[in-house]
C-alpha cells in the first residue's frame, strides 16, 4: 500500500479516498460541503477556545488535530519525522493570518473550494478561479527569486510541539471543561458549529487523511502551482480525483444541488469570492503549500508550518472579532479591508524576500 501511495499514482489514489471521506463526514453530520475544511474547522477551534465569540462557529473539530497526529504517526513509522524550522517564522505567522482572512472572506480553504464545486455550489468556481490567480501571482514571485530562506535542523523534541497541542485539543474536546461561567470551552448550540459527525468517526477520518496526505504529499495549492509552473500534473491528479469522487458520492447520496443561491455556508458575492481566494492562494504559495499540507508538515516536525497554522488560528479569531468574516448573508463589514491589507502584505513579502543569483 505504501509503495502505491508514494508512487506516481499516490496523489490520485489518496485524493479519491480523501474525497470519499470528506463527503461521508458531511453526510454524517459535518456542515454542508464541509467534509473537512481546514480554514472553517480551524476557525471553529478558535471559537471553541474563546479566541472569537461568534456563537454559531465554535467547536473543537477533531479532524484538525487528527490530520497533525496522522501525519506525525506516519512520519515516525516511515522514518520521515524531521524536526526543522527557522525559515522566516514571523513572516509565516502573518502569512497564516492573511491566508485565513482570505479563506473566511470566501468561506472555505482550497480543499473546501473543490468540495463546494463537487456539491454543485457554483459560487465556489469564482473561488477556484481566484485561487488559481493567487497561485499564479505567487509563481511570478518565485520566478523572480522569492524565498523565505532555508530552514535548519531542530532538536528532536521541537517537532513534538504541534502533536502535543493536538493531543491537548482532543483532551479538551473529550473532557469539555468550563474555565469560567461565561468562558470557554464553547460548543455552539446552533449553526454550523453545532453540526458535526460523531467524534470518533471524525477523529478516525482525520487520522486517515493525515496519514494518506503525508504519504502521497497531497497538496491543493502545489497541484495548481506545479501544473502552471512546470507542466507537472502529478499533484493535480490528486485534486482532480478528490473533486470527481466527491461529486460522484454527493450525487448518489442526493447531496449534489447545483446552483448559486441557498448553498450551505456560502455567499453569492462573485468579486469577493474571487478576491478572497486570490489572497489565500498567494499566501499559501508564498508559504509553500495549502493549509492541509501545512498541517501535515507540522506533524512531520516542521515548526515553520506549525507557526503558519498558529497564524491561521489567530487570523480566524481576528477575522470574526473584526467583523471581517463572511456569512451566508454576504461579506463582513471589514472583509474588504482585511483582504486588501492581506494582499498588500503578501505582495510586499513577495517583492522583498528574494535570493540573489
Amino acid at each position: 500500500m505504501d509503495k502505491v501511495l508514494t508512487s506516481r499514482n499516490g496523489p490520485w489514489i489518496a485524493g479519491g479516498i480523501l474525497g470519499l471521506i470528506a463527503v461521508a463526514l458531511a453526510h454524517l453530520g459535518n456542515p454542508g460541503n464541509m467534509g473537512f475544511c481546514v480554514a472553517c474547522f480551524t476557525r471553529d477551534i478558535a471559537g471553541a477556545l474563546g479566541f472569537h465569540r461568534a456563537g454559531i462557529v465554535q467547536y473543537l473539530r477533531p479532524e484538525i488535530p487528527g490530520f497533525i497526529l496522522g501525519s506525525f504517526i506516519s512520519s515516525l513509522v516511515f522514518r520521515e519525522y524531521s524536526p526543522r524550522g527557522g525559515s522566516s517564522p514571523a513572516v509565516r505567522f502573518v502569512l497564516g493570518i492573511c491566508a485565513m482572512f482570505g479563506a473566511l472572506v470566501f468561506l472555505g480553504c482550497p480543499w473546501r473550494a473543490y468540495l463546494r464545486v463537487a456539491g454543485g455550489d457554483w459560487n465556489a468556481l469564482y473561488g477556484v478561479g481566484g485561487l488559481a490567480v493567487g497561485v499564479l501571482i505567487g509563481i511570478m514571485f518565485l520566478w523572480n527569486g522569492f524565498s523565505l530562506g532555508a530552514s535548519g535542523e531542530n532538536p528532536k523534541a521541537a517537532g513534538l510541539v504541534m502533536p502535543v497541542i493536538s493531543l491537548s485539543l482532543l483532551a479538551l474536546l473529550f473532557i469539555a471543561p468550563k474555565f469560567s461561567e461565561n468562558g470557554p470551552v464553547f460548543f455552539s448550540p446552533t449553526g454550523p458549529g453545532s453540526q458535526h459527525a460523531p467524534v470518533i468517526i471524525a477523529l478516525a477520518g482525520g487520522l486517515i487523511v493525515g496519514w494518506l496526505a503525508q504519504r502521497s504529499r497531497f497538496c491543493t495549492v502545489g497541484a495548481l502551482r506545479d501544473l502552471m509552473m512546470m507542466g507537472d500534473s502529478h499533484l493535480f491528479k490528486g485534486i482532480a480525483a478528490f473533486t470527481l469522487v466527491a461529486f460522484i458520492a454527493n450525487y448518489f447520496l442526493g447531496n449534489f444541488k447545483p446552483g448559486f443561491e441557498g448553498q450551505p455556508v456560502a455567499h453569492t458575492n462573485e468579486l469577493w469570492n474571487f478576491l478572497g481566494m486570490v489572497l489565500s492562494g498567494l499566501a499559501f504559495t508564498l508559504a509553500g503549500g495549502c493549509p492541509g499540507r501545512q498541517l501535515i508538515m507540522a506533524g512531520e516536525g516542521d515548526s515553520d508550518a506549525g507557526i503558519f497554522v498558529v497564524g491561521m488560528l489567530v487570523g480566524a479569531g481576528m477575522a470574526h472579532n473584526f467583523s471581517a468574516a463572511s456569512s451566508g448573508a454576504g461579506i463582513g463589514a471589514y472583509g474588504v479591508h482585511v483582504t486588501v491589507i492581506g494582499l498588500v502584505f503578501c505582495v510586499c513579502v513577495g517583492l522583498m524576500f528574494r535570493e540573489r543569483g
Binding site: S87, L142, S147, A150, R217, M230, D232
Partner: protein, 72 residues
Amino acid sequence: MSDIITVNASGLSCPQPVMMTKKALSGLSSGRVEILVDTATSRSNVSRFGENKGWKVSTEELERGYKVILEK
C-alpha cells in the same frame, strides 16, 4: 568526464528545490548533478523532475537529508 555540479537545496520550501534543479540542468545535455535536500518530499519531487527530463536518478540517504544524483 565533466565536473560534478552540486546544488544545495536543503531546507528550502517547495518548489524551490525543483526550480534550482531545473536551473542546474538547463543547457546541460550530459553529466552528473547532485542535489542536496532535507525532506523526503523534496527528494521525490526532484527525482520525478529528473526522470521526466530523461536523467538517470539515484538517491543516497545522508546523516541529515538526502542526495539526489542525476546522471546522463
